[in-house]
Every structure is written in structure tokens, then in C-alpha cells.
């Protein structure tokens, strides 16, 4: 079980105390420095957040109650004033944070920046309503994506980058056509959307935009959808998601090692986040694939015309294991075992899909529902192992949740429990063999060291 940071620290301090590394007074000082002050600061931040949310909802409700009776000029003035106030607040908070990063309110800057973007997006929607314009979801999403990216780069806000990524996802989706009078996605526009997504990714990976792992995950989902998901009206094409995840892990790990120690630290942190987000993308792709296999959809690799982006992605994915093994050995660093396990979790379903595709070309065939064990259950357990190794609670939790749901779904939906059980027993035998090999290697290593 992966514990929270606080629980781990308490456990470690108990151990250090027992081993005589620290004395009781130092333990008390460490505890008070770590928990008491931050707890009070958190309470203040939460109370401030509650106050802002309540005041904001109240103001919106007040304006909405009087909206119909307002002239367009007054409506425009209200919207622009709200937008200007949010931008001004973002500027003040940004400057305060820049002057004193320790005490400046970055949360305020983030909140105000995101609020300014929401105000701008709401202004467009409300003006469209004032002039009786019909819904055009694609144009609206493109507008929000461009404004979001612009706001993210000026204010360095990760929240705005997340909104931009969601808007980019919607803008390219066929769903946008169902939610209004948008036409089909033109090739020129789709290229611009892809370029904007890469610019956003670059801004986040360089450390300029204060992105989190979830921001990177949204951008990766967006890229995976743009790289082929929309063609077949899927959310994410599993082979694209899996190869993109592997490529992102290899590229981000290699780039992070290439960064200089001191000045490159912010970018290294972001690249590590990107690698972690790629594991999230792999989890989503595996879950989508497992659902498709269990639903008796035809799953196999279908050869098509190669694209430049697809070739680059595949080359990076194939190079990823080499980057993760050879580069750390050359630099005398520990091999990132967690990342390697994620790569293995991507490789197993991909290998099966490609094998099924080749088999189909020779004599026909596709992966049946019982293969869900190999393309879903085993890779998800692999991701849970990676989460446990790297103490990544979110990855571990989500992977185990997916395993539980998938197991119940398999038992409920299966029409051939015997075949399922054979696949499960074979996979269990392999897991036991891996366990035995690990144990043997560990003992051998201990014996050599002794």
C-alpha cells in the first residue's frame, strides 16, 4: 500500500528514532515544522477559496437575474469590466509572486488568470446569445483554445493551459459537429490545432507554464486524439495512445538527462511530470482497448499508409527502452525500473495487436474477448506495479481500480469462462515465474555482495 507523504514521513521518523538517527526533540521539531504551519496555511487557503467561490457565484447570479433587462452596451461593459478586473488581479498577484516567490500568492495569480479566461469565453457566448447566433461548438472551442494558450503563455498559468487543452480536444472532435452547426474539420484547421497543441506542450515542458502532471496528461490525450482517434470517431485509438505514451516516456527521460544540473532543474521537473503523465495516457489507452476487446470488437493491426507523425512516434517508441537502459548506464545512474515496467505494459498489447494483424493477413483472425486478460488485465497490473515501485499513488490507485472493474466485467460478460480461466492461469504462472526470477536475482546479488 502506498502511503501519503505525511504518513510516510511519520513512519520514517519512527524508524529513524528507533535506529538512533534522530532524538525525540528533533522528531518533535521536524513534526511541528512539517505539519503544524502548513495545516494552518491550508486552512487559510481553503477559507479564501470558499469565499471567492461564494462571492463569484453570487455575482454571477445577480447579473443573470438582471441580464434580460440590460442594454447590449451595459452587458458589454459588465463583461469587459469583469475581464479587466480579472486580468488586473492576475497582474498584481503575478508581480507580488515575482517580487517575493516565497510569500507571493501564486494560487491567486493562477486563479485570477483562469478567471480572466473564463470571463473572455463567457463574453463570447453571451454576446452570441445577445445577437441570436446559433451554437457553433467548433469555432467556439477554437477561440477558447487560442485565448487559453495566449493567456497561459502571458500569465504562465497551468490552469489556462488545461482549459486550452480541453478546448483543443473538443475543437478537433466529431462531437463538435453534433453540438451545433459546425461543419467538418478542415485539413488546414486541423494542422493549426496540432501546431497549437505542440506549442502548448513545449511551453509546459520548458517550465515556462506552471503545468502539473494532469496538464501534461490532457495535452497528451489531445495529441493522441489528433494523431488518429478522430478518423474513426474513437476517443483514443489504442495503438496511437500506447506508442505515444512510450515515445513520450523515452523522449522526456532522455531530454531530462541532457539538461544541465542547476539551471535546467525546472525543465527536468516538468519532463519528469511529462513521463508520469505518459503512464496515465497508457492506462487510458489500455482501458479503452480492454473495453473494446471485451465488447467483441475486432481488434487487430490494420496496415495503412504511413504518416510522418506516425513514423516519428513509432521510432521514438522503439528507441525508448534503449534510452531508458543505455543512457543511465553510460552516466552511471540508476535505471528507471518504473518507467521500464510502463513501457512493458505498453509493449504487451501492442505486440499482440500487431501479431493478430499479421495473422489476419495470412489466414484471418482477431483478438477475441478472452484476450482481454493479456491486452487489459496484465498491462494494468504492470502499471500498478510501476506505480508501487515509484510510489505514485494516483497511478497505483487508478490501475488497481481498473483491474477491479475489468475483472468484474470479464466475469459478468464472459460467454466462455473456461478459456478465460486458462488465460488467467497462464498469466498467473508467468507472474510466479517473474517473482521466482526476481527472488533468485536478489539472493544472488546479496551473496555476491557478501
Amino acid at each position: 500500500m502506498i502511503l501519503s507523504y505525511r504518513a510516510r514521513l511519520r513512519r520514517d521518523m519512527d524508524r529513524w528514532l528507533a535506529e538512533g538517527l534522530i532524538d525525540p526533540s528533533l522528531r518533535q521539531r521536524l513534526e511541528s515544522a512539517t505539519f503544524s504551519a502548513s495545516g494552518f496555511a491550508h486552512l487559510q487557503a481553503i477559507l479564501m477559496l470558499c469565499a471567492v467561490i461564494l462571492a463569484g457565484v453570487g455575482a454571477v447570479a445577480f447579473v443573470a437575474a438582471n441580464w434580460a433587462g440590460m442594454a447590449p452596451f451595459s452587458r458589454m461593459a459588465v463583461l469587459l469590466t469583469a475581464n479587466a478586473a480579472a486580468v488586473a488581479a492576475a497582474f498584481v498577484a503575478y508581480e507580488r509572486h515575482r517580487a517575493n516567490p516565497e510569500q507571493g500568492s501564486w494560487i491567486m495569480a493562477e486563479g485570477a488568470s483562469t478567471l480572466s479566461l473564463v470571463a473572455a469565453a463567457a463574453s463570447v457566448a453571451l454576446m452570441a446569445q445577445t445577437f441570436h447566433l446559433p451554437a457553433d461548438m467548433r469555432s467556439y472551442a477554437v477561440t477558447v483554445a487560442v485565448l487559453g494558450a495566449l493567456t497561459a503563455f502571458v500569465t504562465r498559468s497551468g490552469g489556462c493551459a488545461m482549459i486550452a487543452a480541453v478546448a483543443l480536444l473538443v475543437a478537433g472532435s466529431p462531437l463538435a459537429e453534433l453540438l451545433g452547426r459546425s461543419g467538418g474539420l478542415e485539413k488546414g484547421l486541423s494542422l493549426w490545432l496540432e501546431a497549437l497543441t505542440f506549442v502548448l506542450l513545449l511551453g509546459c515542458a520548458s517550465g515556462w507554464i506552471a503545468a502539473r502532471t494532469s496538464t501534461f496528461l490532457l495535452i497528451l490525450i489531445c495529441l493522441a486524439a489528433q494523431m488518429g482517434g478522430y478518423d474513426r470517431e474513437d476517443f483514443i485509438r489504442h495503438e496511437v495512445g500506447l506508442t505515444l505514451a512510450a515515445a513520450a516516456i523515452g523522449a522526456s527521460y532522455g531530454l531530462a538527462l541532457a539538461m544541465p544540473e542547476g539551471s535546467g532543474q525546472p525543465a527536468r521537473d516538468r519532463l519528469e511530470m511529462l513521463a508520469r503523465a505518459a503512464a496515465g495516457l497508457a492506462l487510458i489507452a489500455i482501458a479503452v482497448l480492454a473495453a473494446a476487446t471485451l465488447g467483441s470488437h475486432t481488434i487487430r493491426w490494420e496496415p495503412g499508409l504511413p504518416t510522418f507523425g506516425g513514423a516519428v512516434r513509432l521510432a521514438l517508441a522503439l528507441a525508448a527502452p534503449l534510452v531508458l537502459v543505455l543512457v543511465p548506464r553510460r552516466l552511471a545512474r540508476a535505471i528507471p525500473v518504473g518507467h521500464l515496467v510502463v513501457l512493458a505494459a505498453c509493449a504487451v498489447p501492442l505486440a499482440l495487436i500487431w501479431t493478430a494483424g499479421l495473422a489476419h493477413m495470412l489466414k484471418g483472425g482477431a483478438l477475441g474477448p478472452s484476450w482481454t486478460v493479456w491486452v487489459g488485465l496484465v498491462p494494468l497490473l504492470g502499471l500498478a506495479v510501476a506505480g508501487h515501485l515509484d510510489e505514485r499513488r494516483a497511478l497505483f490507485g487508478w490501475a488497481m481500480s481498473c483491474v477491479a472493474v475489468l475483472t468484474v466485467a470479464m466475469l459478468y460478460m464472459s460467454k466462455d469462462l473456461m478459456t478465460f480461466s486458462v488465460h488467467l492461469l497462464v498469466s498467473a504462472a508467468l507472474a510466479f515465474a517473474a517473482f521466482a526470477a526476481c527472488r533468485w536475482a536478489d539472493r544472488r546479488l546479496s551473496w555476491r555482495l557478501a
Binding site: M76, L80, A84, S116, A120, T130, H132, L147, L150, V154
Partner: protein
């Protein structure tokens, strides 16, 4: 100096954020004040949307042309009626419907064009949602056109929604369809802006302007 630069960047950001809504408001106000007015026959239906409030869906007579004379010029080789009697138009194709007023002043669609007409012609620009072009005597239903081709299908003009205060769209829906028309204003490119609902000759729910 750095604060000044940051201030300028944030000021530019505000202008960029405000620009889309401002442009939309100014463009539509200009069309509403300077555009050419036309009266269009319409049917109403009032849905409710969680995010967009209450509104009426306006179904225009010119939005559902049936065997309306059409000129295939502008379609190029995509629609050759000499080889096939009917060709289907792709969704999203831009069209121009030539309008002429009847005795009651209501503008009716008289011809569907695929090239923008010249000056002096009253026309409205729209987008094909689904439609087909048939040669005389072909196509679905009785072909009554006397031109080389007839258009049949659905066209949208971007003025199909009318947003009103709570409860009003439901009242609009209850009005006899013979009593209600829409006054739209057309800019030079034929793009319409919804000016007002006209009920029994009186303006009802006139679209407000910035100036």
C-alpha cells in the same frame, strides 16, 4: 522596466481576450443598422437548454426549398447533370438564395445559386445541411422548375435561434404562424442578422444594438 513590460503584456492580453466578443458585437450592430431589411416566413419551436437558457428555433420557408430553380454554375465538375440526373451536395456547401418580395412584402426564395450574385440582386447567404440538385423531370417529388436544374434540401442561415427572457419563447411558440415573420438584415455579402420578430405587423423582441 520589467514591471512595465509585464504590464504591457497583461494589457495586450486583456485586449486579445476582449477582441472576439467586441468584434462580434460591432459586426452585428453594423449589419443591424446598415443592412438591407427583408421579411422572411417562419415557423417557431421553443426548446430549453441548460447552458443557453430559453430560445425559439426558427424554421424558415427559405430553409427548406423544394424544387426551387437552381443554377449549377459554381459547382464545377462535381455536379454534372448531363451524366447523372441527380447529384447530392456535400454538407457545408455555401449557397446564395435569390429573394423576391411577394404581394404581402414577404421575401420568398426564387432561385438557388452557387456563385455570389452581382449588385442589385437581393440574396441571402446560407450553408447546405443536406441537399440535392436534379435536372428537370428528375429527383424526388414532382419537378416543377422551369430551369435547367432544381434544388431540394435543407439550408441554414445562422439566424435559426431567437433567445428571449424566461417564458417568452414559449409564448412566441403559441403565436399563429400566419401572424409571425422575421425581419432580417443582410450585409453586402448576403450574411443575415436577426433584426426582430414581427407579430401582426408589430416589432416583437427587437435585437438590441450597441449604438
Amino acid at each position: 522596466m520589467r514591471t512595465l513590460l509585464a504590464g504591457a503584456a497583461f494589457a495586450a492580453l486583456f485586449l486579445a481576450q476582449a477582441a472576439p466578443a467586441m468584434k462580434m458585437a460591432v459586426d452585428h450592430t453594423q449589419t443591424l443598422t446598415k443592412g438591407k431589411p427583408v421579411l422572411l416566413a417562419v415557423e417557431t419551436r421553443d426548446p430549453r437548454d441548460l447552458f443557453r437558457g430559453e430560445y425559439s428555433i426558427l424554421t424558415y420557408e427559405i430553409g427548406r426549398p423544394r424544387n426551387l430553380p437552381a443554377s449549377p454554375a459554381g459547382l464545377g465538375g462535381t455536379c454534372d447533370l448531363t451524366r447523372r440526373p441527380t447529384c447530392y451536395l456535400p454538407a457545408g456547401k455555401e449557397v446564395y438564395v435569390r429573394l423576391e418580395p411577394d404581394a404581402g412584402g414577404i421575401h420568398r426564395g426564387v432561385e438557388v445559386l452557387f456563385e455570389r450574385p452581382g449588385d442589385g440582386v437581393t440574396f441571402i447567404a446560407g450553408t447546405v445541411r443536406s441537399g440535392s440538385l436534379s435536372s428537370v423531370g428528375a429527383g424526388n417529388g414532382a419537378a416543377k422548375c422551369d430551369k435547367e436544374a432544381c434544388f431540394q434540401g435543407d439550408i441554414v442561415y445562422g439566424i435559426e435561434n431567437w433567445f428571449g427572457p424566461q417564458g417568452v419563447p414559449a409564448k412566441v411558440d403559441g403565436i399563429d404562424r400566419r401572424d409571425i415573420v422575421v425581419r432580417a438584415r443582410l450585409d453586402a455579402a448576403g450574411r443575415p442578422a436577426l433584426d426582430a420578430l414581427v407579430v401582426k405587423g408589430e416589432d416583437f423582441g427587437r435585437t438590441a444594438r450597441l449604438w
